[in-house]
Symmetry: C2
Subunit: 339 residues, 2 copies
């Protein structure tokens, strides 16, 4: 029997634009030993998120990057291996923020208990995790969607987008998803059951969008950035609400966006159509996890909320898999199964 080691993925270099496999190092370190009040957790599933690119630096974000050589922060589903903690027992499943590594110590403050019988474990990284919370908060706390209106979700085949689209369906909206390419739009229609799907890579994108929103757009869950926002103003109804859950295309941008300047169009729409545009910080809503699960876990179990996953095998697969997120090659939630 070999002595277990703690494999960690470290930031090796700050990317400019898209991340590359060589921006990461993998090292093997001793498995840490829990002290008083601590637990040792072993990560089973590791989440890959746009946020991981942001903390690498050069990502046009206000979020400070981690240092070169630091372990990559990230969300995981883990099992408790050793416990000196009154709440968490050996064998318990937890959601953690312990990062891209095999093992971690915790005093419990960053852990949430998971019921492994309530839903697939991986759902706790996706629709029942931070991803789902990002979608749920936007649709329930930031904008005030009128059920029955038309909700447009951009990057709707992505992790947050597909969660937002599903929550929108669950809450009675007519949901139109925008995604790139026929495989993704088919997934939106056939697997997720959206009312319409629009392919932004298609030559007739503008016409597709117009056909998909015959009654205009009442609410928008936006994940992409200026490219998508610029397509919306002609269709926005009076008092339409846009929640910005992400700016995917900005994260890897290395130059100022070329003209024309699309800000004036949006400003006019804000004024003339009484728009509300809002952002939010997910950590401000971490106390909503219970509400999210209460609403979604039964629907996940019943199969009325669906989601795609892009699962890779092994921690060592992450450096090569993660960059695919930024090339539109991935559908659904990106997860590495590491144990």
């Amino acid at each position: 029997m070999t002595t277990p080691v703690n494999r960690q993925i470290l930031l090796a270099a700050r990317p400019h634009g898209d991340p590359k496999p060589t921006d990461f190092d993998i090292v093997a370190r001793p498995v840490p030993v829990p002290g008083d009040g601590q637990v040792l957790i072993r990560n089973l599933l590791v989440s890959m998120d746009p946020y991981n690119r942001i903390i690498m630096g050069n990502a046009n974000s206000d979020q400070p990057p981690i240092d070169i050589g630091d372990p990559m922060f990230g969300f995981t589903v883990a099992v408790v291996e050793q416990s000196n903690h009154p709440v968490f027992a050996v064998g318990d499943h937890v959601a953690s923020m312990s990062g891209w590594q095999d093992y971690a110590l915790s005093d419990g403050s960053d852990l949430r208990s998971i019921d492994p019988t309530a839903a697939p474990l991986s759902a706790n990284l996706g629709v029942l995790g931070m991803t789902g919370l990002t979608a749920w908060v936007g649709l329930t706390k930031i904008i005030d969607p009128k059920p029955g209106g038309t909700l447009v979700v951009t990057a709707a085949a992505g992790a947050v987008g597909s969660a937002a689209a599903q929550i929108g369906k669950l809450r009675g909206h007519r949901v139109v998803g925008i995604a790139g390419g026929p495989a993704k739009t088919r997934h939106l229609r056939e697997d997720l059951g959206l009312d319409a799907a629009v392919d932004y890579k298609a030559a007739d994108f503008t016409a597709q969008l117009a056909r998909a929103v015959p009654d205009g757009i009442d609410t928008v869950y936006e994940n992409v950035g200026a490219t998508m926002v610029a397509a919306l103003p002609p269709h926005l109804n009076m008092k339409a609400q846009i929640v910005v859950g992400g700016v995917m295309e900005a994260i890897t941008a290395t130059t100022a966006a070329p003209g024309p300047d699309r800000l004036p169009d949006l400003q006019r729409a804000v004024l003339y159509r009484d728009l509300t545009i809002r952002g939010f910080s997910v950590p401000d809503y971490f106390d909503c996890y219970d509400a999210l699960r209460a609403e979604l876990a039964p629907a996940v179990a019943a199969g009325t909320v669906r989601y795609a996953e892009h699962v890779v095998e092994g921690l060592e697969a992450i450096p090569t898999a993660f960059p695919d997120m930024f090339h539109g090659r991935v559908m659904g939630k990106m997860i590495a199964k590491i144990a």
Copy 2:
């Protein structure tokens, strides 16, 4: 004694870009005779507003234009000349939307009574009129400003901007005005008593703005458009709120704005700084005129709310005076004194 006539300013041509004197005709028509339930009003003061350019057409607005040959719509202060109406008596002062003409009939539904002793008559077009309402609604109903925070007002020497800046001061904000040129910034500091004024035409505008908001920006009353909005993101505090009260620079734009595209910067700020950006329709708040006056009329009378006016003499001066609004040559509320 000559028989009175009703001089009317008609739309003669749709401008492309800035309006020109030749876009208007002035005609003389018979003074109309009030029927049952009607009053005949004689306009004393006529308001010139960005809205007047919008209804001329080709103004990048959702608002439908008036037809060529139609009388120009507009806000006025008038006196009742004849009355078959139970509420309005001969000699009463009223605020009306009767347009750029000497006389008009009304069934009273578009009239608001004015107390000519409460404030100068012209204030009923400015800070106590539609102009003031536009400012007041934005600051009190659309955003939720935290008194004591920093409020930035763009086009702060304009009619709506100076009203917003004054209301901001009255409500305890630290108010920073942005305007073009030293005469206007001096007016903002010395006449309106703003806490700081920034000259967007100055070579060191960016540095001036940074110095003027050492604690960042909490709220923005925006009247200009993309040029101003693009300058704000570096200084916006978390959860900053932007109300869009106008898009002055867009009204006369004839081409797409050149690059770079400034929308991505704003999108990032929305997400990473939890921004709220909102527009509104002033007519939705016409029932707030009483609240506006209750708050501002005493302050106007006491001189604690001040405002600049740009008054021209005579209805016939309007076609040549109005275009100046779009060249930054005017400070404060534009009014024609026509009787």
